[in-house]
């Protein structure tokens, strides 16, 4: 991997919640234009990793480098302005804003505001259901529609990299399939994507490169097509796997 191909580099990241250590020396490299998935069970540290990249959590040591600039320590809003977008866990749409207003909030950063109309069209093309519901408050959307709105809102900023935190959580399989198809379409336009998933098979299927995270450690990584599902599953559960089966 040559260095100018790396869009985002995370080096030896340690994160604590008071006494509890959530991440141990986590190093992740994300190539420009790829889809990278971070696989792990509940509480493995996936969301902590994402929240630390975006400045919601502060690392105790280590660095986050985006396009050769250190971004760890910056406030979340300034990180977002650099072109890092996130569809947060549980979609977190603004419930009292209409669908259109939610999308316009996505285009808040100065460089996105100029072509907000074009981006709005693009978002509606990607998820036509959002156009139908554009005047409704996001509170009244279904779970799948909220997830679509969260993704559409994230790409309104015209990001360089899009983080998707558990976008399949609690959704019907048909909807999940549809959403993942859209994720690939977004990737085809050149936006680098980081997927956070609990489902091993789905993660491997839709990504180019995968990291498996267990109890705050990266325990396995490799090209998604070359990683055997069984081994990933073993790594995913660690020594507890027999307790679960």
């Amino acid at each position: 991997m040559t260095n100018d191909n790396v869009l985002l580099a995370i080096d030896k990241l340690n994160v604590h919640y008071r006494q509890f250590q959530a991440l141990y020396d986590v190093s992740v490299k994300i190539k420009k234009g790829s889809i990278v998935s971070i696989i792990g069970s509940n509480g493995a540290g996936k969301s902590t990793l994402l929240n630390t990249i975006l400045g919601i959590n502060r690392p105790t040591s280590g660095s986050v480098t985006f396009m050769d600039q250190r971004i760890d320590g910056l406030p979340t809003n300034r990180i977002a302005a650099k072109g890092l977008s996130m569809s947060p866990e549980g979609s977190r749409v603004f419930p009292n804003l209409t669908v259109k207003e939610n999308l316009l909030m996505g285009a808040y950063i100065p460089q996105a505001r100029k072509n907000k109309e074009a981006m709005l069209e693009k978002a509606y093309d990607l998820f036509p259901v959002l156009k139908e519901k554009s005047k409704q408050e996001a509170n009244y959307l279904s779970g799948g529609q909220r997830q679509m709105l969260a993704i559409a809102r994230a790409i309104m900023a015209g990001p360089k990299i899009l983080f998707c935190d558990e976008i399949s959580l609690g959704l019907a399989p048909v909807v999940i399939k549809d959403i993942y198809k859209k994720i690939q379409e977004i990737n085809d336009e050149g936006i680098t994507i980081v997927l956070i998933e609990q489902d091993v098979k789905r993660s491997l299927k839709y990504s180019d490169y995968s990291y498996v995270i267990l109890k705050g450690n990266i325990v396995m990584e490799g090209k998604s097509s070359e990683l055997p599902v069984e081994e990933v599953t073993d790594a995913y559960f660690g020594e507890n796997k027999y307790a679960i089966y």
Partner: protein
């Protein structure tokens, strides 16, 4: 036909009460901050207005514009350097900080202007716009009401149709996600306080034109603002107008039926009743989060 007159005055007075409460409701709705200093900030605006009116030989429009600039600056500084620092430390510290601001402001006023009653001289108080044998409408009361409607509609427009307004509402809904969109939420809080101060400056002018005031009058208007916000629902602009009108009518009806001594009591009784049967306020939906 005294009752019609009372009813009419109650409705028009409601405009003044809505103006007094609007800034407080805005601040509470956006940053969940109960601003104890709200009444005192209004009275500070009233005093600045009075001084400016003297400077510009009675040109109240010019006076209120200058006051708005001053108050925006005061609001921005208070929010940025005091309140923002304690907002994420739980509910009590911000409350104590605004309580401290309240005491400080009223004592500064006492020091500078003395304890005498003041009022902003104006001719509107003596003019009746409508004068029939059954009722009359005083110019100053009508002004209160019209100003309230114009301000509320403008605020509503800003909140609905501008990037600034949307980012304020988004921040109120979900601070972390708003940050993810690139919104500097602390800065938004400061701007929200500025907006509340613009409204409070106008309210301050109206208060000074309607009634006499002292450095300690702020507390009285804080309680009115609380009443209106409780009746109308927190952070709901249209509810605030309705809340103001209900409080106004309740007070004047109380005065009509039981005598002027009961004016304030009647207002608070209605407040108590509404607090019992609809604690979320008249226009607010029960639980929305």
């Amino acid at each position: 036909m005294q009752i019609i007159q009372s009813l009419l005055n109650g409705i028009l007075l409601g405009g003044l009460y809505a103006m007094v409460a609007l800034g407080m409701s805005l601040v509470f709705g956006i940053m969940k901050l109960t601003n104890i200093a709200h009444g005192d900030l209004i009275i500070v605006a009233t005093y600045i207005c009075m001084v400016m009116a003297v400077q510009f030989s009675g040109n109240l429009l010019l006076a209120v514009l200058i006051t708005i600039c001053f108050m925006m600056l005061i609001g921005f500084l208070l929010q940025t350097f005091l309140i923002n620092k304690v907002l994420d430390k739980g509910p009590e510290p911000p409350l104590l900080v605004t309580f401290g601001i309240s005491i400080t402001l009223s004592n500064i006023l006492l020091l500078v202007f003395g304890a005498d009653a003041r009022y902003i001289p104006n001719t509107l108080k003596t003019i009746n716009i409508v004068n029939t044998e059954h009722f009359s409408i005083s110019a100053i009361y009508l002004l209160n009401f019209i100003v309230a409607i114009v301000v509320i509609c403008t605020l509503h427009y800003i909140m609905k149709n501008t990037f600034f307004g949307r980012s304020i509402r988004a921040t109120a809904d979900d601070v972390t996600t708003a940050e993810l969109m690139g919104v500097n939420t602390k800065r938004i809080y400061s701007y929200t306080m500025c907006l509340a101060m613009v409204i409070s400056s106008i309210a301050g002018l109206l208060v000074g034109m309607n009634y006499t005031y002292y450095p300690s009058t702020g507390t009285e208007y804080l309680i009115y603002a609380f009443g209106v916000v409780v009746i109308g629902g927190m952070g709901n602009q249209m509810g605030i107008l309705l809340g103001g009108i209900i409080l106004g009518i309740a007070q004047l009806m109380g005065a009509y039926f039981f005598g002027t001594g009961y004016q304030l009591l009647a207002g608070y009784l209605v407040l108590l009743i509404i607090l019992t049967i609809r604690p979320q306020g008249i226009l607010s939906k029960a639980t929305r989060r």
